[in-house]
Symmetry: C2
Subunit: 356 residues, 2 copies
């Protein structure tokens, strides 16, 4: 820590200048293709730089005043297809605009999230896209005020920034109503997040709203950490009871997995004993049995929109999100429509042979 010179000191423009017997300003200009430099000199400088293995120092350039061209995306879980698909689309957009993307994983841990945000701010990041954690630290919200910032997928009340989300309320409303219209009387919802996140509140609200239209139906709701284990435990606890739900709406493809595991272990079958409607559309949903009915989100459009906003690219006119102003702030919310993809995992209750 004390007084240590950098271990591997590559050549700098000063070294190149000394080698050629010119000033370092000439080298700098030559490498930046300034019109002030003679053609011959440029060539000699470039040749020397290449042969000496010169690598420019990004830190020095940033300090000189050039904007760092780093964009950060903080996501909770890279093993969740939903987020990795988003990460991919963001990466494409950012790379296409000539900038550098830094992916950071928060693991739904507020302290890790804070560390990432702090590191990105200290690096003078050009912009940050974040899917905030449920109990986000106030300090994190403070730091985010110093950077152009967009919230993606989830909206946290402490963060004052534009929001790009899916129409979660309509999504779970459609899913819930679908099950009820098929004739299910006892349905349930397993969701991620908590009361502080839009993905928690909005989805539960949609589900409840669907149930409200069917007075003779009862509903159970469980919210927890978006990992397969929570889906598994919750499903196991429900399936053991006599008044188990005959249809379940899942708030994450991670829950779908845990739920499938629970259903198999308790000897039930989908969709014969239990109907399932998933969230998001990972590639294996289509081929699992007769297919898993699910709510598909316009992942690509959402990601590209958020990335374009941060990179200050013109927004392509995508399949129109609805735009509304968030009261009390200057921020806006872009809500993207969702789509129910009908496959084979939901049937009327007690129906042994699905319509196929």
């Amino acid at each position: 820590m004390a007084g240590l010179k950098r271990t591997r000191n590559g050549p700098t423009i000063k070294d190149i200048a000394a080698e050629l017997g010119v000033s370092h300003a000439t080298v700098s200009r030559a490498l930046n293709d300034s019109p002030l430099i003679g053609t011959g000199t440029k060539e000699r400088v470039r040749a020397a730089a290449a042969s000496m293995g010169y690598i420019p120092d990004a830190a020095a350039k940033v300090m000189r005043g050039a904007q760092s061209n780093i964009v950060g995306f903080i996501l909770p879980d890279v093993e969740n297809h939903f987020y990795s698909a988003i990460a991919r689309s963001i990466a494409e957009t950012v790379a296409a605009s000539g900038m550098q993307l830094v992916l950071a994983i928060s693991e739904d841990d507020p302290d890790l999230e804070l560390r990432h945000v702090r590191a990105l701010c200290e690096a003078r990041t050009r912009g940050i896209i974040i899917t905030p954690v449920a109990d986000l630290r106030p300090e994190t919200a403070d730091l985010l005020r110093n950077v152009p910032c967009k919230q993606l997928v989830r909206r946290h009340p402490l963060v004052e920034a534009d929001v790009v989300v899916a129409d979660d309320t309509t999504a779970t409303f459609q899913a819930g109503r679908r099950l009820l219209e098929l004739g299910h009387k006892r349905i349930a919802y397993i969701g991620g997040g908590s009361e502080t996140l839009s993905t928690g509140t909005a989805r539960v609200e949609g589900f409840r709203r669907a149930v409200a239209g069917f007075p003779d139906a009862t509903a159970a709701v469980a919210l927890g950490p978006p990992k397969p284990e929570f889906g598994y435990k919750t499903a196991i606890s429900w399936l053991g009871t006599s008044d188990r739900p005959s249809g379940i709406v899942l708030g994450s493809s991670r829950f779908t997995l845990g739920t499938l595991n629970a259903i198999r272990e308790t000897g039930f079958e989908v969709p014969r004993d239990i109907s399932l409607i998933g969230y998001d559309d990972p590639d294996w949903f289509e081929f699992w049995g007769s297919g898993i009915t699910t709510i598909a989100l316009p992942i690509r459009e959402m990601a590209v929109t958020a990335a374009s906003m941060v990179c200050e690219l013109p927004l392509e006119a995508t399949r129109g999100p609805s735009i509304s102003k968030i009261p009390g702030t200057e921020a806006h919310e872009l809500t993207f429509p969702v789509r129910l993809v009908e496959r084979g995992s939901d049937t009327p209750p007690g129906c042994a042979n699905p319509a196929q």
Copy 2:
């Protein structure tokens, strides 16, 4: 570009110094908790820094000589469970050692890969973990000589760096022999990569070696880009012929998906008509039908090992990889054992009802 001051100029230690009427050296020492500074001064400096919203400048620190504490991981495809699982384990290890991980996606594009490597080198990254692309640019290999670097999963001949891989040859050998012992006479392998990558050559070699032990068996091999589409197209072309294979070994879970799609479209069924053995073990393999037999890799161990080597952490004694020296270089190769996980997707040919 020209002479622009940074747009959002936050306060620096000089501003804090001016505010308190001390020199910036005092502020710097106070913030770094130097013993040279009086307790009272420290407190006043910290209070001022907090109230003024001071954010340290990472670029200046790096330039001053402090090692950047960034570690980079360049992976080809974040939507592939295999790599996202690796990314997660690397992120955990790197975060635990107090460093910052930068994830970059190469999309199997050598030019994009070069861009990422260059950016990481210019940022004076502490170390790079890379899963190299098939036709990696020589320039990329040159740049990597300037950084502590480890190859993960794939080995590219141009890159002179330690290697952490799975025992791919044994893996496909076991898978191929398994199908042959079940009685299959026509088997096939769909693999990723090309002749320049270890994942291409090693896996094909293992498969061929298995077939060599069964003189009356015939085998087909297809190598291509590791995307579902290639698996789909290849499977479709094979299934249409009269001498179609009765068992297929897949070299990536991405191919498994495309192959399942092809099998369904052509009206066949797994495992009744076609036996399948996958690679890697994404979570849905266990619950797909009676389960997909597959070759499981010690993803976590491999990732943690590579990350520990880059972060200069002591290597935990993991379930022993075999270590060998790579001839012609000073680099070493760590090969991790694989494991065949037997589930329900492989049966003797023409067997309508698997043993369950």
